[in-house]
């Protein structure tokens, strides 16, 4: 059995890679996928803690995180589709109408 | 430790052997059976040394040789890696599902009790649904990698159909899970060995006298769920009447129009393997799996009191044979269905999945819950 720290460091690394994706990529769908990656890193951390502390609450929270992530992915993609219809582009840089 | 791994390897090999052989034989049954249904002769030209074997040589020797020696091409603008990956995913997910389907009760060799199931997971049937949901990727990737509008349309239709009917399939099984109280397929198969009269409480005397002598198979306890599951499973395998994704007369060949040779053979074999898997699931959930009616671990115990004792190996052999026969029956039933009914239009398929199967499955769950509580 590996020590808990290894799982936590792995979760942190995956989270950071997701952050790169959200900050840097100029394709809305890839940004959404990076957000999913971040959510999964958090799930991994929860499950690792649940195992090492012997409590089921971590896994129940992961269940809810998955449901919320599903809802968020659905709405995010619907927004992407409606934005694409108007702007014909998936580049976040081009969606600047609300910028002052 | 090594012996345990060896036993699992042997079981996995046996299951794969059975599934792949059955998939091959199903190809022959399909061609000859369809010929019988349509009052024609079917394929009988290829022969070895004058022996044509009712089309066996044609389907089992000539066809695979033809497929394997064809040129393997990838469409010019298509994605080469994904084009090769798609049929692998389709075949892999179809075969791997069989790991949790029990093909026998137990086999006692000396001191070792071997559970005749490749992997006894505590999540049992959820594993089947999870792998089934991964099966959608074979279609989606194959359609996308072909760089072809017809292919893309067929793939999108196919994956939408598959994910719709996954929901109905999962919900229709919930009734069985409530009755047997477990997710593990081996426990569900074992639970179907009791007689109905042993499952009912004393208050249901009327039911006990009329149907109490039947074994507690899923088909007797959940007939509506069986119909729903059968429909959903046929829709999942994209067979007629649900084969718009590969509609032969409408979309050329749907999502595998750009495939030929070995890759098409893999899609083809994957489809037959899915038929076998669907048949295996139907027998395990609704028809007792490996159960022979009234056969317990030591012999026959008939409800009218007579007992016939049998040695352990005979019992195990009978149970494995029963499982195989039931699976073959359901495969034949699906092939019969294919050549008997016309195909649904796509909007009819979607309407059936969402507006008819889903409410019926929910109704089944509610009625099952009420009956279970009333009978306690």
């Amino acid at each position: 059995m590996v020590p808990l720290d290894y799982y936590l460091i792995l979760g942190a690394v995956i989270f950071a890679i997701g952050v790169i994706g959200v900050l840097v990529r100029r394709n809305l769908i890839v940004v959404l996928m990076s957000i999913e990656l971040m959510l999964n890193a958090v799930n991994l951390t929860f499950v690792a803690f649940s195992r090492y502390l012997g409590s089921m609450q971590g896994q129940v929270i992961v269940f809810f995180v998955m449901a919320v992530a599903a809802a968020e992915a659905v709405i995010g993609l619907a927004i992407v589709i409606s934005v694409f219809r108007h702007r014909r582009s998936l580049d976040p840089q081009e969606m600047q109408l609300l910028k002052w | 430790m090594i012996v345990d791994i060896g036993i699992v390897a042997v079981k996995a090999f046996l299951v794969l052997f059975m599934v792949l052989n059955l998939a091959g034989i199903l190809g022959w049954i399909e061609r000859k059976g369809s010929a019988l249904i349509q009052d024609r002769i079917g394929a009988n030209r290829a022969s070895v040394l004058g022996f044509a074997g009712m089309g066996l040589v044609n389907t089992l020797v000539a066809d695979p040789l033809k497929f394997l020696t064809k040129e393997d091409f990838v469409p010019s603008q298509g994605d080469k890696f994904l084009h090769t990956l798609a049929p692998c995913m389709a075949l892999f997910t179809a075969l791997v599902t069989f790991a949790v389907i029990p093909f026998g009760d137990i086999l006692v060799l000396g001191e070792r009790v071997i559970n005749l199931q490749v992997a006894n997971l505590n999540i049992g049937i959820l594993y089947v649904f999870a792998i089934g949901s991964l099966g959608v990727y074979g279609i989606v990737i194959g359609a996308w990698a072909s760089n072809n509008k017809f292919s893309l349309l067929g793939g999108v239709r196919g994956s939408a159909q598959m994910i719709s009917y996954e929901v109905a399939m999962g919900l229709s099984v919930i009734g069985i899970l409530m009755v047997f109280g477990t997710l593990e397929l081996q426990e569900i198969a074992r639970g179907q060995g009791t007689l109905i009269r042993d499952m009912l409480p004393e208050s249901a005397g009327f039911l006990k006298s009329t149907i109490g002598w039947l074994p507690a198979w899923g088909i007797f306890l959940q007939p509506l769920a069986f119909l729903l599951f059968f429909t959903a499973a046929v829709a999942e395998t994209k067979r007629i009447p649900f084969d718009l994704p590969e509609g032969e007369s409408e979309l050329v060949a749907g999502y595998h129009v750009e495939y030929s040779g070995g890759k098409f053979l893999m899609f083809f074999a994957g489809e037959f393997a899915e038929i076998v898997t669907a048949a295996g699931l139907m027998t395990t959930l609704f028809f007792g799996g490996w159960q022979v009616p009234y056969l317990m671990r030591d012999g026959f115990h008939f409800p009218w009191g007579e007992t016939v004792l049998l040695p352990h190996l005979a019992v195990t052999a009978l149970q494995v044979a029963a499982f195989t026969l039931k699976v073959i029956f359901f495969c034949w039933l699906q092939i019969l269905l294919r050549w008997s009914v016309p195909r649904f239009r796509y909007d009819q398929v979607m309407r059936l999945g969402w507006k008819m199967l889903l409410p019926l499955a929910l109704l089944n769950v509610i009625v099952t819950a009420i009956v279970i509580i009333a009978l306690q």
């Binding site: 808990l4 942190a12 790169i20 900050l23 809810f64 | 505590n122």
Partner: protein
């Protein structure tokens, strides 16, 4: 160095590789498929952590449904314009993420976390235990989640409708 530790190292290396592929590949479909692989590997880690129910739900819901939805949208929108990749952005972004990873790792490595896991009973992480927790202690969030999913469905249908 027992088998489970070796498995962990292999899977975590593959997971980091898959996540990097999600973020760095040019073709969006390849990114989506790399994410599917990453989700599947995380499900394997869940099963290793004695959470089989959550692991199979991860494959069923995340890898099997949400990613199919992503692939649908990618295939429908079929974005052809290739995205620009200014080097300054990538440099600063990667630096920020590296700082984040380093600080998280440093913070998490010396907490009071137990080094060895509590002995796991047979039913830890099984469907029964999860369901028992879910329907007794967490029944209110469960019901609210179902309303949330309903709201998400309605919102998605309204947002993505074509203007007549």
């Amino acid at each position: 160095m027992d088998a489970s530790a070796i498995l962990f190292y292999v899977i975590s290396a593959l997971l980091v590789l898959a996540s990097l592929m999600v973020v760095f590949l040019r073709n969006v479909v390849h990114c989506a498929l790399a994410l599917v692989v990453a989700l599947f590997l995380i499900a394997i880690l869940f099963v290793m952590l004695h959470a089989p129910m959550v692991g199979v739900l991860q494959v069923l819901v995340y890898a099997g449904a949400i990613m199919v939805l992503f692939l649908f949208v990618i295939m429908f929108l079929n974005p052809t314009a290739s995205e620009p990749r200014p080097k300054l952005w990538w440099g600063f972004g990667s630096l920020a993420a590296l700082l984040l990873a380093a600080s998280l790792a440093a913070l998490l490595s010396n907490g009071g976390a137990p080094a060895d896991p509590v002995a796991a009973t047979e039913i830890f992480g099984s469907p029964e235990t999860l369901a028992k927790s879910l329907f007794t202690d967490f029944v209110l969030p469960f019901e609210i989640t179902s309303v949330l999913l309903l709201v998400a469905i309605i919102g998605a249908v309204v947002l993505a409708k074509r203007e007549p």
